[in-house]
Each structure stands twice: as C-alpha cells, then as structure tokens.
C-alpha cells in the first residue's frame, strides 16, 4: 500500500514542488501568478470553458431523456445501452475523430464546437453510469405514475419530480464531463484547436514552471470537484439509509 501511495503521490509532490519554485530553486508563487498573463492561456482557457459548457449541455440533453426512457420503457435493453456507452473507451480517438470528420456537415468541421460533439461521445460512459445509478436509486416508475395520476404532464413530471431527485447523479455526470473536457488533449490536438491541455504542451517549451503550475491547478480543481461528488453521494446514501430505517 505504501508502494502504491508513493507511486501516486511522488509525481504529484515533484510536480507541486517544481511549480512552486523559481528558476533559482527557491519557493515562490511566481509561476501560479504568471499563468493568467501567459501568452495564449486566456484564449485557451476561454475556449476550454466554452467547450465544457456546450459539451455538458449537449451530453445532458442527449443522455438524460435517453437514460430515463430506457429505465421506464426499455429496462431489458439497459445492458445493451451500457455496452454501447463503453465503446468510446475501447475505440481509439483517432478512429473516432476520423469517423466524425467523415460524417459531420462541413460547417461544423471548421468550428471548435466539433470537439464538443466528440467530447459528448467520450463522456457517454461516465454520464450514463452516473445517471443509471441515480435512476436506480429511486423508484422511477412509481414516482412517474404517481405524478401522472395526479395530473402531471411529462414535462412537469420531469421538471418537478425526476430531475430534483436525480440532482446528485446529474451533478456527478456534469462534473465528470467537465473534468474530461478540461483534461482532453488528443482530439483537440488532432483537430488543431488550442485548449488548455494543448496550450500546456505547447507552452512547456517556453516556461516549464508555468505549465506545471497550470497542470497542478487543473488537477487540484478536478480533485475538489470529485470530492464534492463523493460527499453528495454519501449524503444521498445516508438519506436512503434513514428512509430504509423508517419503513
């Protein structure tokens, strides 16, 4: 266990130490402070955030209704859908991007938002699993039927009943998608767009301290978000346990 811990923590320690050193090897925040004004960072950061936003919206619009529909109407095909969502993990990114470039209309190919469509595909395994687990934790069919029998339309049922009870799962899916977009290098690089990961690689040749500091901030930011998800999951589990205890 110590060995595993060292394997994981030593590079982080080394990266953090390097990010907080100046050229003379003394402790300094100069690299962190220099990130916002570094050449190209602002544009790369803005592009990454726009892509993240569009990707999250697209992924939710596509996957939330699909997963709910599968749970409600096609429970038998859940395993098939799950299998399909795993495919982006096993298909190499170069094949995915070639497929998308060959099939998407021309106007989107010249836009950076093409990456969002690719990221939606890449995020499918995480989004589907999060939503699937969230829907599995509630009695979806009964809640929907209760709402419908009380006069709720499908839209009202979705907005007032399903989505509020799916909040931790939605948050989890959104944060995982966000983390994926902010950390994805291969596709952005192949499609010649400078997102933050691409900028880190490109700018490394100019100043290693700044790029390592940017990587560390990204890593810590993702870690904070994931910790937030875990604590929300725990809070939901406690609520479920309390509910089970009262019945």
């Amino acid at each position: 266990m110590l060995l595993a811990g060292a394997y994981f923590l030593l590079p982080l320690y080394a990266g953090l130490k390097f990010a907080l050193q100046n050229d003379a090897g003394h402790f300094s925040f100069f690299a962190v402070k220099a990130i916002p004004s570094a050449q190209g960072f602002s544009a790369a950061f803005t592009l990454s955030m726009k892509l993240a936003l569009v990707t999250v919206v697209l992924a939710m619009l596509l996957m939330v209704p699909t997963t709910i529909y599968v749970h409600l109407r096609l429970p038998r095909v859940r395993r098939i859908v799950e299998f399909i969502t795993i495919l982006p993990i096993v298909i190499p990114p170069i094949i995915l991007i070639e497929g998308v470039l060959g099939s998407y209309p021309g106007w989107i190919k010249s836009s950076p938002y093409l990456l969002s469509f690719l990221y939606v595909v890449l995020a499918m395994p995480f989004v589907y699993r999060s939503l699937d687990a969230g829907l599995g934790a509630i009695d979806l069919k009964t809640l929907v039927e209760a709402s419908r029998s009380l006069g709720g339309s499908w839209a009202q049922t979705l907005r007032r009943v399903i989505l509020p009870n799916l909040r931790p799962a939605l948050l989890s899916a959104m944060v995982l998608t966000l983390a994926l977009v902010l950390g994805e290098y291969t596709m952005a690089s192949l499609d010649l767009w400078e997102t933050v990961p691409v900028w880190i690689v490109n700018f490394q040749q100019s100043d290693g301290h700044i790029t390592v500091a940017a990587s560390m901030i990204g890593l810590i930011g993702t870690w904070v978000l994931l910790t937030l998800i875990v604590s929300l999951d725990r809070s939901q589990s406690r609520r479920s346990r309390r509910k089970a205890g009262t019945t």
Binding site: E145, L150, G152, S153, R160, N165, S240
Partner: protein, 370 residues
C-alpha cells in the same frame, strides 16, 4: 367467468362517486393473458376489492383503469365516458401505490398539494385543502416533514391524502397496506374504509389478502387467470362460494371425497343436499368443500375420527380431525374444545344446510385442505 353481480349494496347511497364499467377487457403480455375478457361494473360510491393470487390479473385491471396500461380489447367507461383516448394524466383518478410513492424532494404539504398545483390551483387554497386532508388522516403535525422522516404507515396516509386532494372520480388502491406491519395495517385499513364511506368515493382496492378484502369492501371480486371467479358481498362470498377456487381461496375449506347421487351427497355416512344454483354436478366421484364451521363433532369412543391438531383461536378452537385418509378442520366453541385432547375419538357431522361440490382432486391433494 362464473358470476358477475353488477349491483352493489351501496348503489343508492352515494352521488359523489363515479360509475365504472370494465367491459370485456383483454390484456396480454407476450403469451400470458393477464386479463381475459374481464368484465365488472362498479356502482357510484362502492368499494370493490379485487382479490386473487399473484398473477391473476388484479393489478393489471387496476392499471388499465388508471390508464397506465392499454387494453388489447375491451372498454373502460367511467360515468358513461369511454376512456380509450384519455391519458392517465386526464383521468382524475387518485392512486395509492404498494411501494412508497411520495416525492422525496417535497415535504408532506407539497406532496399533498402536488395534484392541485398541476391543476393550476392557487397556492393558498391548495395549502388550506392539504391542511384539511392531513387533519383527516391524522398527520397535521407532520406537514413540514419530508418522506424519509416518516414511518411507512405515515407515508401511506400522506399518499392517501394526496390521492384524495384532487377529488378523484375513482380512488385506486394498489395493495397499499402490504408493506406495513400488522398493527399499522389494521389501523390504516379502518381509516381507509372510514374515509371512503365518509367521502362516498368509488374505490377499487387490489389485494391478495382475503382478510383485508372481506373486512373493507362492499363487494369482493375474486379473480383467477385474468377473469372473475365470483363477485359478491363478503358475507355471501364466504358463506356461498360458487366455485371450488373461491371456496379454497377465501377462508379455509376441507375437501372430502364423496359420491353424488342426484342432488345429494353422503359425507361420513350422512346425507347432505348439494348447494342449489350450481350447475348439475353429475353423478359420480366428487369432492365436497366444507368450512370449519360447517362441521360439528361429538366425542365418541367408537367414532371413526380422532383429533390430530388443536389450535386455540379465542372464541373458537380449531381441531384437525383425521377420518381414514381424510383430514378435516372443525371449529368448535372453545369451552367445548377445552375438554377435547389430542387423540380423542370423535364423530364429525355436517351441520351446514347444504354443501358445495367440485371435481375430485387426487387423494394426495385432497387431504391438504384450505
């Protein structure tokens, strides 16, 4: 279908409830016919229980009425309106589910007002009505709590209040008591019946628990294989079952192999008339179906029967009497039963005015009654 009475005992008593007609409903799932020509009419304000074993189609019938399932054939008519093209959302039917169906993200008040809000009623009047209903179900002090803070019984009471809030044309209860412990179940059973009578709302109650059905309903509809075996008042259903299935499913019956002769059978040497109104049972080997209270016994050292089990039930004591290969259950008054020990030789005699006969079962099954 053996019998479908269409006149409920309270048909003249109420005006608030709706008249429900389920007309020759057929619903298949793959090769299974969950409903097979199911026909039932429920009068306004009547409380009808659909009773039957798992898979008999009772829940499917309720779900077709609610609009959650579409029948392959047949019609659902409420107050003369065919509901074929009316979605569940528009049917105005309040439903209480078997599993806890309160919306976890809403407190008790918001759960109860949900249906009213869906009908665009203003917040103030909705909350006032929720308050009234919560008082009716005895949960006024729980209005701000969330479902996970309530017990199972309290959750079902809130679900009942929520279903009643929309002033439904029909109240549908899908085994709402089955997840509760015995004490809470008994309390809620009485409360549901009392509310239903007070509000005079047409109610369909699905259950596999005969005690619940017999104690709550105006009429009980016993179902088997997607159709009705018998629909009758609880008293008639228990005392005058018209089929072997009903006799065995409702209450406890002992099967005694008999030979029929005309309209009579001989049971333990005693001649008894066959129940009138039945189809001609024909001559030959049959089983008589007898309730524990259909028998009396006399202690007789020369009697062919002897007592093998004895259970104290309060006012009565249930004895299992073995006569040859046949085992019958006999209820006696407990003061009489107190003097009867296991192994005592007795002479069972039929005290019922007539008996129900059914096709003969294999002897191995015949000795296992009820």
């Amino acid at each position: 279908m053996k019998e479908t009475s269409t006149t409920g005992p309270r048909s003249d008593a109420t005006a608030a409830g709706a008249r429900v007609e389920l007309d020759r409903l057929v619903r298949t799932f793959g090769s299974v016919r969950a409903l097979d020509g199911f026909t039932l009419t429920i009068e306004p304000g009547e409380f009808v229980a659909l009773l039957g074993p798992s898979g008999c189609g009772k829940t499917t019938a309720l779900r077709v009425l609610a609009g959650f399932e579409q029948p392959d054939e047949g019609r659902v008519v409420v107050d003369g309106q065919d509901l074929a093209d009316v979605s569940a959302q528009k049917r105005d039917m309040g439903m209480v589910f078997q599993s806890y169906s309160l919306f976890p993200n809403m407190n008790v008040t918001n759960n109860v007002t949900f249906g009213l809000r869906m009908r665009h009623q203003k917040k103030g009047p909705s909350r006032a009505k929720a308050g009234e209903l919560l008082e009716l179900v005895g949960l006024s002090d729980q209005a701000s709590k969330y479902p996970h803070q309530l017990s199972g019984g309290q959750q079902q009471r809130v679900a009942l209040a929520r279903a009643l809030a929309i002033e439904p044309r029909v109240l549908l209860l899908d085994e709402p008591l089955s997840a509760l412990d015995a004490k809470v179940r008994g309390e809620l059973r009485d409360q549901i019946r009392s509310l239903q009578q007070r509000l005079a709302i047409t109610t369909v109650f699905v259950t596999h628990d005969q005690e619940e059905a017999l104690s709550m309903a105006d009429r009980v509809c016993v179902m088997s294989k997607g159709n009705i075996e018998q629909t009758a008042t609880p008293a008639v259903l228990y005392a005058r079952p018209t089929t072997a299935f009903v006799a065995q499913f409702v209450g406890i019956s002992s099967r005694v192999p008999v030979e029929t002769s005309g309209n009579e059978v001989t049971i333990f040497g005693q001649t008894c008339p066959i129940r009138t109104g039945e189809a001609d049972p024909g001559a030959g080997p049959r089983d008589a179906l007898l309730r524990p209270e259909d028998f009396g016994i006399e202690v007789d050292p020369d009697g062919k029967g002897f007592v093998t089990h004895k259970s104290f039930l309060g006012a009565t004591t249930r004895l299992v009497v073995q006569v040859g290969e046949i085992s019958v259950r006999v209820d006696v008054r407990s003061d009489q039963g107190a003097d009867i020990e296991l192994g005592t030789h007795v002479r069972p005699r039929v005290i019922a005015r007539d008996v129900l006969v059914a096709p003969r079962m294999a002897i191995a099954a015949a000795v296992v009654d009820g």
